[in-house]
Each structure stands twice: as structure tokens, then as C-alpha cells.
């Protein structure tokens, strides 16, 4: 099978989402497919937060089979060389002029891909993987959309992740050994563990109050740096039903285990959202905040897909809870019985989450879909070149 060189360019904008997706994808491509992957990232200090093994002082290094290059003009000029057979511009991060010029000079043009954001909206299927003439360079560029249906690029999913999850979840002792090693409180009988990862505008006070009114004890596990001020405030307030645990900020593999070992996961943006799906546990998703109601539309589109065969009363309360969580503090006080109502359906939501996860896992994953697309494009390019000789 032909081996390709593949470059992924990633600019870190404001959080861990872009680099989270790119680092995970780069590692998976390098580990599971015949590709030599280079990941070109601008802000190493943020990258290091999710990958502690990264050496910030080294502009060029290799980790887990992926060549990492710091994206500065100087380092690109010194280390970049020729573009790969495939050049991926993650989330339309705009390639540097130097790279585009070298792409134009290549004897065989690279397969140029803009790897896009995940969305469940209908329009994604009709925009996915359509090679289009790039007006400024004359090269072909393709927007590649991850997604939930076979007519999209699928979701990022490592080959063994479902089996690893099953093994981990089947053994409570293993879960507690892992928790102890990571400084996370051990599981307690009768206590509901909730992991919380959210944007700063999430209605956290309302959630804390709502959880307090529930009928069973709840423990919120919050990675360090997320809602830090609120956590301090809540810890001091000493709630009866709710306890708050600030836990270390975890690298990818450990964050997966956190999601697997909790009863409910609050996730945000893109990377943690997809991981919550593979966790097969009930989750509440906060979409990346956008204007003109765009994030709300994305939330509704996902829930429409996710709740299609869910018991209708459970689907209704799940939608209400998501609306509360995504509309934030703009809508005033949410319904104080939301948590009470949601928790009544937890067994149903748990079964549904596992079934939905299993069903998604039966579709091709994003890396497989991408490699298939690249092969088809390379064949087309080869045919075109042969036709002109």
C-alpha cells in the first residue's frame, strides 16, 4: 500500500479544542495508517498542557510517531522543507505563503484539505469532500467535514478505544487504581460522579443549586483551571448534596478514563464531545458559543439526531437540560426541577448513550474516511497527469 507524507497545520485560537483534535488525529493517523505525519503547531505552551511529554524548547521533535514542528516563520524556513503529499489546514487556519508557494511548485500537487468543525447540521453532508478549485492558487482544495452520518467524514475514533473502554468499565478495581494514581477521589457507593468541562459562560451557579435539590449525593469532578473561581466559591459554601473536587488537568488517555469512570459527563466544544460519545455514558454538551443563535442551532441539530429513538419523555428533558446549559445566564433562572427530572431518566439515558456509541462505532472513523478520500484524489491526480503527458 502506498505510503503518504501528511502535514497538519494547527493554530491554537483560544482553548484546547483545535490542538486537542489535531494531536489526537495526528497520533491516530501515524499509528494506524501508512502515513508519515508532521504536525505544525503555533503555541507549544498550550499544547504542553494536554501533552506533558512535549519539550517546549525544541522546535522540531518526534512524539508518538508524529514529527512536531513549531509554527513560526523562522522554524518553517529552517525545518519545513517540501510539503507533504497531503496538506491539511485544520479549521481553516490559513497556510503560510511559504507553504502555498511550495505546494504550487510541487510536480504532483498535494491533496489540500481544510479539516472542518464537527456539526450535525443537514448542510454538512452536501458540503463534505467536494474538491473545489482554489481561486487564488489554481490548486484544488477540499473541505472535509467530520460528522455523524455515512455521508460525512465520520468521527475521530482510535481502533481499540471501544475495547479499552469495555475492559476499563468492567473492572471497578482498575478504575480505582487509576483514580488513585491520578489524584482523583475513589468511587463511592451511592454517590453520582459528574465530570465537568465547560466554557466560562455556562450557568454554573444554577447547576450547583439544581444539583443540591436532587435526591442523591453528587460529586463534581472539575479539571484544574475550569471554572476555578466558581469551584473555590462552591467549596467554601459547603453544600449538603453536592461536593466539588478539583482534579488535575488530564492528558488525552486519562481524560478518556475520567469520562469512562463517571456517571454523567459535561463536555464542551468538539474533542471532549466526541470522547463523551465514545465513553457511552450520558452527557450534556455545551456548544462553542457563537452569535446569531448558531451554537443553539448546532445543539438542536445534534439533539435531533441523538434523541431520534430515545424514549420521548427522556428526550424532552434532555433537550430542556441542554437548552438551559447552552443558553447560559441570558435566560435568567432555569427550571429548578430540571436535574430532578433528568436524574429520574438516568438508567434510560445510560442505555441510550451506550447504544448510540456502539452504533456510531459501526461507521467508518474519520481517519479511515480521510485516507480513503486521499487515495481517490491521488488516483484522480495521477490519471490527470498521465492524460497530459
Amino acid at each position: 500500500m502506498e505510503r503518504y507524507s501528511l502535514d497538519i497545520f494547527c493554530r491554537i485560537i483560544d482553548n484546547y479544542g483545535d490542538i486537542g483534535v489535531c494531536w489526537r488525529f495526528a497520533r491516530q493517523l501515524a499509528a494506524e495508517h501508512p502515513v508519515d505525519v508532521r504536525l505544525i503547531v503555533d503555541v507549544f505552551s498550550v499544547f504542553k498542557k494536554i501533552e506533558p511529554a512535549l519539550d517546549e524548547r525544541q522546535a522540531l521533535q518526534t512524539l508518538e510517531g508524529v514529527t512536531l514542528l513549531q509554527w513560526t516563520e523562522e522554524h518553517l524556513a529552517q525545518h519545513y522543507g517540501d510539503p507533504g503529499d497531503v496538506v491539511i489546514e485544520a479549521f481553516a487556519c490559513r497556510l503560510p505563503d511559504l507553504v502555498i508557494e511550495r505546494m504550487k511548485r510541487r510536480a504532483v500537487p498535494p491533496v489540500w484539505i481544510d479539516f472542518e468543525y464537527l456539526s450535525a447540521e443537514d448542510w454538512v453532508e452536501s458540503c463534505h469532500a467536494i474538491p473545489s478549485f482554489h481561486p487564488e492558487t489554481g490548486l484544488q482544495k477540499t473541505l472535509f467535514f467530520p460528522g455523524f452520518t455515512p455521508r460525512t467524514g465520520g468521527l475521530i475514533r482510535e481502533r481499540n478505544i471501544i475495547a479499552e473502554r469495555s475492559n476499563f468499565c468492567a473492572d471497578p478495581a482498575t478504575q480505582n487504581i487509576w483514580r488513585a494514581a491520578k489524584g482523583i477521589p475513589l468511587k463511592e457507593e451511592g454517590v453520582l460522579d459528574i465530570s465537568l468541562f465547560c466554557y466560562p459562560d455556562a450557568p454554573l451557579d444554577a447547576l450547583a443549586e439544581d444539583l443540591e435539590s436532587g435526591s442523591e449525593p453528587v460529586r463534581l469532578l472539575i479539571p484544574h483551571g475550569v471554572a476555578a473561581e466558581k469551584v473555590q466559591h462552591w467549596t467554601a459554601a459547603k453544600k449538603e448534596q453536592v461536593s466539588f473536587c478539583s482534579i488535575p488537568f488530564l492528558k488525552h488517555a486519562d481524560y478518556d478514563r475520567l469520562l469512562w469512570s463517571c456517571d454523567i459527563n459535561f463536555v464542551r466544544g468538539e474533542d471532549s464531545w466526541v470522547r463523551a460519545i465514545w465513553a457511552g455514558k450520558p452527557f450534556i454538551w455545551q456548544a462553542y458559543p457563537q452569535d446569531k443563535g448558531a451554537s443553539f442551532l448546532k445543539m438542536e441539530a445534534f439533539l435531533h439526531l441523538y434523541t431520534q429513538d430515545l424514549f420521548p419523555p427522556a428526550a424532552e428533558i434532555l433537550a430542556k437540560f441542554h437548552a438551559m446549559w447552552n443558553l447560559g445566564s441570558h435566560e435568567g433562572r432555569p427550571d429548578p426541577r430540571l436535574w430532578h427530572d433528568l436524574s429520574a431518566y438516568l438508567p434510560v439515558l445510560k442505555d441510550h448513550a451506550r447504544q448510540w456509541s456502539d452504533r456510531q462505532a459501526r461507521q467508518d472513523d474519520c481517519a479511515t474516511a480521510l485516507i480513503r478520500f486521499i487515495r481517490a484524489q491521488r488516483e484522480r491526480i495521477d490519471t490527470e497527469i498521465k492524460g497530459t503527458i
Binding site: 481544510d114 473545489s132 481561486p135 473541505l143
Partner: protein, 185 residues
């Protein structure tokens, strides 16, 4: 130069040395950064159709063609008839109208685009005002504009509007993106 989001059906751009007429332009709100535009093109020399997907901030070389200000008169079935201030009539085949029919109303001012002396397409104003003829009742208390719902305007076209919009309201629409922009008092 124009960015993709400024282009509409009726515009002509150059791509790879070809003159391409945009026959359909669709706008979709993407993730955090620029939105996504889906274009259908017709090559003005060969007549062959194609399509392309672009980020809305992608830059295109637009071609300046002759324009004439007209108003929309009527639809004869196969053609849409427009008239200039000197009462000259221009016919645009229905097949060339594409998205423009979503917003057309009698006496609507617009521009005819000519290529080599022949009427080629029409360009609409960027903003048009239409009355909402049907939408579900407003959600009580929601004035944030975050929650959207479908609304039908007088041409029969349906688009997303904030939940507080009601039947009879006049709304301004951006014809480049098919997005609600404001409620008109």
C-alpha cells in the same frame, strides 16, 4: 477582489482562467471561524456546470460586467420580465434565476447583468424587506435572539428567524446569506 460571502448568484468570477457565472450561492454557518459557501457555477465559454465549497473569507477575482438598473415586472412562466426606466423589457429565462426567486416581488429594484450584450442574470439588492406570512407563535420570554425558528415570507420562501418574530412582522434579509438581519418597525 471579493470574498466568497459577498458573492451572489449572478456574479461572474475568474477561476483557472475561465469565466464562471455563479448560478447558486448557499451560506452555512460553520464553527468558530468563517462560514461555508456552496457555489454552483456555469462556465460562460463552455456552458458546463460545476460546484465548489469555500470558506466565506476566500478571495475571488470578480469580473465587472455591464449592469442596468431595472424593476421586476412579472413572470411569464418560462421567463422573468424586468423593465428599465425607459420601459425597455428584458427577459431572463427561469432556469437562470436560481435563488433570486426567493425574494422577488413586483416592482422590486434590481440589476440586470449583461455578458457580450445579452442579459445574463440579475443581481438583487443586498438587503430586502419582506413580511412574515407564517411562523409558529413566539416563545414567551425569549428575547435573546439565540433561539431560532422557521418563518415563511410573502414569496413562499422559508428561513430561520429569532423566536420573537411574529406573523405580520416585517423583517430585513441579507440576500447573500439568506439570513435574517433585523426586524423592521
Amino acid at each position: 477582489m471579493k470574498v466568497a460571502q459577498e458573492l451572489r448568484s449572478g456574479n461572474v468570477v475568474t477561476m483557472n482562467g475561465n469565466l464562471m457565472l455563479i448560478t447558486k450561492a448557499e451560506f452555512s454557518k460553520s464553527g468558530r471561524n468563517a462560514s461555508v459557501m456552496k457555489f454552483k457555477f456555469r462556465n460562460l465559454i463552455t456552458g458546463s456546470p460545476s460546484e465548489g465549497i469555500y470558506k466565506s473569507d476566500e478571495k475571488f477575482d470578480d469580473v465587472v460586467l455591464d449592469h442596468k438598473e431595472v424593476t421586476y415586472s412579472y413572470n411569464s412562466g418560462e421567463e422573468y420580465i424586468f423593465m428599465d426606466s425607459e420601459y425597455n423589457q428584458y427577459e431572463i429565462p427561469a432556469a437562470m434565476m436560481e435563488d433570486a426567486v426567493k425574494y422577488l416581488f413586483e416592482q422590486m429594484p434590481c440589476e440586470i447583468v449583461f455578458y457580450e450584450g445579452k442579459p445574463l442574470s440579475i443581481e438583487l439588492p443586498i438587503k430586502v424587506v419582506h413580511e412574515v406570512t407564517y411562523t409558529e407563535p413566539a416563545v414567551k420570554g425569549d428575547t435573546s435572539g439565540k433561539v431560532m425558528k422557521p418563518a415563511t415570507i410573502s414569496t413562499g420562501h422559508t428561513l430561520s428567524v429569532p423566536a420573537f418574530v411574529e406573523i405580520g412582522d416585517k423583517i430585513e434579509i441579507d440576500t447573500r446569506t439568506d439570513e435574517y438581519t433585523s426586524r423592521v418597525k
